[in-house]
Subunit: 180 residues, 2 copies
């Protein structure tokens, strides 16, 4: 998995933030020349496809400042330092939806933007979900609205682009196969 490897010559850290950092690497290209790579470092995230016993999918609508609009997504969130992804999945499910689950299954992982970022999302399926009496709160800068939708509703949301992110688009076509 090192084909066409680009060895790092120098790394120049340009910005360190609360969530992401940005660095520019000078790299040695496979042809011996040098190139520059702008790289955003991100702690990684988990996303949860949560399905109720009557086959409704739990989604959250939230404002995404980067896009300057609200979109509808599967529950998701950043991995905290030293947190196992399974625990992130359970925590985000609880914080964002007020549900917990008795069956959590790993589906797969993927990079979201390999051209400029190292963010990896780990995707889980949550079944046998149960509403909690006193779920943990959202982060203080998070505001979400909960939706319970059928697969047909989800299809309409893809068509109307209310579902407009990669992980949720993936979840929709994954569920089309899983729930049929």
């Amino acid at each position: 998995m090192k084909k066409f490897e680009e060895k790092t010559v120098t790394t120049d850290l340009k910005y360190t933030g609360r969530i992401i950092t940005l660095q520019v690497d000078d790299v040695l290209l496979p042809n011996g020349k040098q190139g520059k790579r702008e790289i955003v470092k991100h702690p990684g995230a988990v996303a949860v496809i949560a399905v109720t016993d009557d086959k409704k999918i739990i989604l959250v609508e939230q404002y995404r400042k980067a896009l300057e609009r609200s979109i509808i997504e599967i529950p998701a969130g950043k991995i905290e330092p030293n947190e196992a992804p399974e625990l992130t999945a359970m925590r985000e499910l609880e914080e964002e939806t007020g549900y917990t689950c008795n069956d959590l299954r790993y589906i797969q992982s993927f990079a979201t933007s390999p051209g400029f970022a190292d963010e990896i999302i780990h995707l889980y399926l949550a079944e046998n979900i149960v509403k909690m009496e006193n779920p943990a709160d959202l982060d203080e800068d998070e505001f979400v609205e909960l939706l319970h939708v059928s697969l047909e509703d989800m299809e309409q949301m893809v068509i109307s682009q209310k579902i407009f992110d990669a992980k949720t688009a993936f979840a929709y076509i994954w569920l089309k196969d899983y729930l049929k």
Copy 2:
């Protein structure tokens, strides 16, 4: 699509690069408090699911410095200034694979990392593809290896995580339905 809108109080540009810029916005949250959003601006991209007449899918292996490994992806690339996404699709297909196509169909668009970036990928299906005699060259810092794979090969690549990015994972399960 403005639910829970976060109005911009100030924007602080932290880094301007060749491909991306990074800014930190102070925003007014729905509860009246202020928050900070770290935002990466990206020109947007196009990705192409290219299928040969004998139902092979054309993939490219390339090194992704952000991930420090090579991964296998559907052909994709950044939208140039004022370039229509359909033209980006045709250009990237030609540059990365040496093919052109007679049928190009828009599938859908999605944000790749709405939590911290505005990158949007427009996804196309290319059919009736034809090898070109003198295709345009890759960018001088791009090195890719071409693969022609069956849907079954693609599944193994997902399992082995050689396919490890969101758009290509999406392409695989979209093709599972389309090619059956």
